[in-house]
Amino acid sequence: MQGTAADRGGFARLWWGYAGLGLILTAGIIITALLMRTPPVPQPVAFNHRKHTGELGLNCEFCHVYVKKSAHAGLPDAQTCTVCHQTPQGTSTEAARVTALLAEGDPLNFNKLFALEPHVFYTHRRHVGIAELECRGCHGDIAETERPPARPLVRIDMDFCVDCHREQGQTLDCNACHR
């Protein structure tokens, strides 16, 4: 049985209605996801990890001095950069900017990129100093980046930690990380 012209008009209106609803929902989901994303982490200078760790062969501990000794690995300050950058290094404009900033007495406050929730008690000492895990296991290819990433390269959540603890046969006691 053929539908009348009025029926066909009704179907078309319904179809457009569904399409419009779908579009609004998709846009809503995308906007919510963008809003819920962690804000980008700004840095005082565009530090080139690849240059320092690869070409110059500096180890992570040179700048992150507490990585084997303390809970936090620590971030470098102007004093660390001054070791080399007091005098102009290389040809890049960013290196020239670092020297200029140091000459002005800028403290070069780097910001923490990988931050855990406040109820998580992690120590670098236990994982890097004692268990001798590699940095890339949790921080991904941070040593290969040429510009500071705006967001962490690896999403470190409880599944991430617990999966590794299971694989390595390490403690699964809640108290080990939460207190």
């Binding site: 809970a71 929730e117 406040p118 109820h119 008690f121 120590t123 000492r125 236990r126 100093g129 004692i130 006691d173 809640c174 108290n175 080990a176 939460h178 207190r179």
Partner: protein
Amino acid sequence: MARWGMVIDLDRCTGCAACEVACKSENNIAPVSAGEADMGRATSWMKVMAQVEGEFPDTTMHFYPRPCMHCDNPPCIRVCPVQATYINDEGVVGQIYSRCIGCRYCANACPYMVKYFNWYGPEWAQSERNHLNPDVSVRPAGVIEKCTFCHHRLQKAREDARAEERELREEDYQPACADICPTGAIVFGDLDDPSHRVYSLKEDPRALRIMEDLGTQPKVYYLRPRE
């Protein structure tokens, strides 16, 4: 596997409450106003209870320092609907604040009344804010908190022992209360390790556990005062 426990010699306890102060300082326990304390909203993971015996003027006073008993059969974990409180392999009854929903079932189930509800977010004087212990979280309003046998100290002691490639010693891990006690009334250690003092002290004829008949099997022993 260790089984951590405590023995408190009531003959040695002078009721000075240094353990209470040390505990509050170690575990970031916020003070409350006098009015709130009157309503029973003060938090004290370690509490020195006082008991007067005899008729005036022939009275004696006894003090009972009371931390969480860390029962081997804890009633609190049976009632927790979200497994925020649990007993670990070493017998420490833990409380996971980020998981707690604040229903207070555990506080009501505990016969020793050692679980405390956070009625408010913590408030400290400006001068005290930089003195908080970074190894212990600051609990938000709406969760239950309790004595942890200073479990964070065990983790630190274990890290030190591993870094120095040696076994954990008895003196490496002591909770703040046992550490501070000026008369040595609070003794802490592994109840199953014959080299620890608590191992023999818990077998002392004076040893007793509070409300043992409930079957909670507490791991805090008291040495009753000599007559």
